[in-house]
């Protein structure tokens, strides 16, 4: 079955700040009456009438980190249907054990206009194209699923990029489903883990990213509170949040408070350098805006959020990293992760992983969680590969009920010890 849909939303959100307190309202009806009502409602937070007064508005000059060559929304629907069919055919042709394939394409064109009482006016258009394939393989009563997908701030040219054709995603989803049919029970307990390049950035996002969002540090509820300048990770680790990467899913020309997207070094050679700020926290810390004040939509108040969070390349040969492990787990693909900000405990879920025995990848392992503590795990990083890769996946970060698109990336990384949550104890 093939289904189609289209959604158009339009609305306005008003935020009024008084100290660290926020008043927020929104409306989807842009009549003057409703806009005034939203402004009054948001203004409830300000007890006195001493507002900023009239302001003169100046447009902010913005970079363009995601020019679009072939806008997709204007292309005929039939062209897009053909992309779905190509992926479906490729997945089914990959292996006779593939019994079901689902393919989806979604396109978003978002226009953002931010005006603040500082006088700044910023305008951006934020494209997003997303393609995903999921396949189910069956053999002798066993069943497994595999997924592959890509997302970027591009138009139709996305499908010409390496690894991004419908066929490549179709085959990759099928490959994963078939490969996992014969997965073994994963081991349980602490062991050496090698994280593959790209997708493993989910570990960074959970282990350290959220804890460096300035709201938690302003409130002193993060375990990185008051640690600027201190060593919080192995000296091999340099962590950057970079909203300026060309066409990447997490990139932004401007954040949702009107500050241009930026590249911010968070951890440099293991030492904590900076938090990711929004307007409230940057005033609190006396720090410059970092371009991290993001929100899901006009229905939501801005919060410090990640853009593309990356671990910089090191100098180790990725093959040497795998060869250095006697018995451990190689983590390749992930479905997601979660962190408890206050104590730093995080989990991330592996959908494709392999046992490492005597320096070689051997059996595929069933889906398993890894659990660790952010600061402890970052101190356990003992090798960092030279093979940095930005994940092309469709990563979406949730915080306070708000979802925003993000990017992740890492080279191959070795962690000396982390707890693997398999079923095979001992």
């Amino acid at each position: 079955m093939l289904t189609v849909g289209r959604v158009v939303t339009l609305g306005l959100g008003v935020r009024v700040l008084r100290g660290d307190a926020t008043g927020y309202a929104y409306t989807e009806e842009l009549s003057e009456e409703r806009m005034r009502e939203a402004a009054r409602t948001a203004g409830q937070i300000a007890a006195s009438g001493a507002g900023p007064g009239p302001v003169s508005i100046q447009p902010v000059a913005l970079p363009d980190f995601y020019p679009v060559r072939e806008p997709s929304l204007v292309r005929p629907g039939a062209d897009k249907v053909e992309l779905l069919r190509r992926a479906d055919r490729a997945a089914r042709a990959h292996d006779p054990r593939i019994v079901r394939v689902e393919v989806s394409l979604s396109e978003e064109w978002r226009e953002v206009l931010v005006v603040s009482s500082d006088g700044a006016l910023a305008r951006d258009r934020q494209p997003m194209i997303r393609f995903g394939v999921s396949a189910v393989a069956e053999e002798g009563g066993k069943r497994q699923g595999g997924r592959s997908g890509g997302a970027a701030r591009r138009g139709m040219e996305q499908f010409e990029r390496p690894g991004q054709s419908p066929e490549e995603h179709g085959r990759e989803a099928a490959r994963l489903a078939v490969a996992m049919l014969h997965a073994q029970d994963a081991p349980a307990g602490p062991m050496e883990v090698v994280l593959g390049p790209g997708e493993s950035g989910i570990l960074l996002h959970e282990a350290v990213g959220h804890g460096l969002e300035a709201d938690f540090n302003r409130k002193k509820t993060s375990n990185y509170t008051d640690q600027i300048g201190e060593s919080v990770a192995s000296p091999l680790c340099t962590v950057v949040d970079d909203g300026t990467l060309g066409s990447a899913r997490g990139s932004i020309n401007v954040d949702d408070e009107g500050n241009p997207g930026r590249r911010n070094v968070l951890i440099e050679n293991g030492r904590l350098v900076a938090y990711m700020q929004d307007r409230i926290s940057s005033r609190h810390f006396g720090a410059p805006p970092s371009g991290n004040g993001r929100r899901e939509s006009f229905r939501h108040e801005p919060l410090p959020r990640m853009t593309n969070t990356l671990l910089q390349a090191g100098s180790d040969d990725p093959q040497d990293i795998i060869r250095s492990v006697k018995r451990g787990v190689y983590a390749k693909n992930f479905s997601g992760g979660q962190v408890n900000i206050s104590n730093g405990d995080f989990v991330f879920s592996l959908t494709e992983s392999y046992l490492i025995e005597d320096g070689k990848l051997t059996a595929p392992l069933k889906g398993v969680n890894l659990i660790g503590n952010g600061p402890e795990v970052l101190r356990q990083v003992t090798m960092v590969g030279s093979d940095f890769k930005l994940s092309d996946g469709t990563w979406t970060c949730g915080k306070d009920g708000q979802s925003v698109p993000v990017g992740i990336g890492t080279p191959t990384v070795k962690i000396a010890q982390i707890t693997v949550g398999g079923t095979r104890a001992g």
Partner: protein, 459 residues
């Protein structure tokens, strides 16, 4: 602010009028059949932290979702622009969009004779909720956080306390011969204290209450005190040694398992072959202690609904009876794919088509008092779960967990940074105790459960 400035209350009759108007636009634009969902909602959220206001958020929104069929092709659209011209134009665009879809005869609307008749009043609306204003919400939010901080000097910080209120009306109209509407309220309150632990770690905990009726929301001070107790109980958390052991799930953790079970008994997952339970109706899928019902008719309950998102009458469905799978939950499409009738279980987001969804999904409580369930020689008592480590296709289950180590029936010390794992099939068949303490706060409801054996990975 004067009363006339305020947005009017969500009005089911007005929503229904919009839905019926849109339906006629769709049919006039050439649709063979159409369904319209209209939602009108308003929200108020007040967050305080360390005794000071942090966020006051108040807004309302009204929007419609349209699904049309033309030559057996379906298209779905959404708009918040409810001017008649805009609605008529959207109807035409939607019919055009359907031309891209593939014909799928099974996607046809359900038969006229299956439509809901009368819309029962399930008492989902509380007249006391609309009059609750920002000042009152603030007062309530402050009380619970203050109670939490006063309880113990080791409560050194707070993630805050949030009081929330939602009111909504929904209407549905279908060319299959039904139009209906209803409205509902909900109030909720959560307190999240933080304390400092050894080694620079912080421990946070939370407790919450949620109810359709203001009078049955737990007292804010009681919520704050319970939140503080739960947070303090985590001080000194450590790992346990990796081993197999009995695992007890507190009702809140058991609720997470039950929510995952809802995913794998969905007719949609069955025809997609994305559940390990496909082709499994008949033989047991769980321990004989397990009975699960999906009941949309509970009065004043969070997940109740008088009709489903295709206009069908809803009804309680026994899903698992003493361990035996009785039915998969189906909407019309999943039912047709599986050759059986809908169970009246269609849900629908406003911007999407119908899909299988649960109403009040309830694991029936047993007779064992929860304290008795903890009578194990050595085992893990799980209060919280983390992560996305469940694969419904294979049933492989591996989640981060926290809770308490139990030794000779007593909670010996708090535990964190561990995982628990098992195959979901073994997990449900391995349940050897079901508590009498059903937690009814949310639309997925479970009591305390004990699983005889799972792998716990820690030290």
């Amino acid at each position: 602010m004067t009363a006339s400035d305020r947005r009017p209350l969500p009005d089911p009759a007005a929503c229904q009028a919009v839905a019926e108007q849109m339906l006629s636009f769709a049919l006039r634009a050439g649709a063979d059949a159409a369904e319209v969902l209209v939602r009108d909602g308003s929200e108020l959220e007040v967050k305080i932290r360390l005794g000071e206001p942090e966020l006051v958020k108040e807004a309302g929104s009204r929007a419609l979702g349209l699904r049309i069929l033309k030559d057996n092709r379906a298209a779905v659209t959404y708009t918040s622009d409810l001017q008649p011209d805009a609605m008529a134009s959207l109807a035409r665009q939607t019919v055009e969009l359907a031309g891209l879809a593939e014909p799928e005869p099974l996607a046809a609307l359900p038969a006229r004779e299956l439509m809901a008749g009368q819309v029962p009043d399930l008492e989902l609306w509380d007249d006391a909720v609309p009059s609750l204003d920002v000042r009152e919400a603030m007062r309530r939010a402050l009380r619970g956080e203050a109670a939490a901080r006063k309880l113990d000097s080791r409560i050194t910080n707070s993630e805050g306390a949030v009081f929330g209120r939602v009111m909504g009306a929904m209407a549905f109209a279908t060319s299959a011969g039904f139009a209906g509407s209803y409205r509902g309220t909900n109030v909720s309150y959560v307190v999240e204290p933080v304390c400092d632990d050894e080694g620079g770690k912080k421990r946070n905990g939370a407790y919450w209450s949620s109810s359709r009726y203001l009078a049955t929301l737990l007292d804010e001070e009681a919520v704050g005190i319970e939140a503080a107790r739960r947070t303090l109980a985590k001080l000194g958390s450590r790992k346990v040694a990796t081993a197999e052991m009995p695992v007890i799930f507190a009702p809140e953790a058991a609720r997470s398992l039950l929510g995952q079970l809802a995913g794998v008994i969905s007719g949609g997952a069955v025809w997609r072959r994305s559940t390990y339970l496909a082709q499994r109706a008949g033989p047991p899928v769980a321990s004989p202690l397990i009975s699960v019902v999906d009941d949309p008719h509970l009065r004043r309950a969070p997940g109740s609904r008088p009709f489903d998102a295709e206009g069908l009458a809803t009804r309680p469905n026994v899903v698992i009876s003493e361990g035996v799978l009785r039915t998969f939950l189906c909407d019309t499409y999943a039912g047709r794919k599986l050759g059986r009738p809908s169970t009246g279980s269609a849900g629908r987001g406003i911007g999407g088509g119908p899909h299988v969804s649960t109403s009040n999904f309830i694991l029936r409580p047993g007779r064992t008092p929860p304290a008795e369930i903890e009578q194990v020689e050595g085992g893990l008592y799980v209060t919280e779960l983390m992560g996305f480590g469940f694969n419904g296709v294979t049933g492989d289950y591996s989640q981060g967990a926290g809770g308490f180590w139990i030794e000779k029936g007593e909670r010996a010390y708090p535990v964190s940074e561990i995982t628990i794992s098992a195959n979901f099939d073994d997990l449900w068949k391995g349940v050897d105790a079901v508590g009498s303490d059903l937690d009814t706060r949310s639309s997925v409801q479970a009591p305390t459960l004990r699983v005889s054996r799972m792998t716990v990975a820690g030290r």
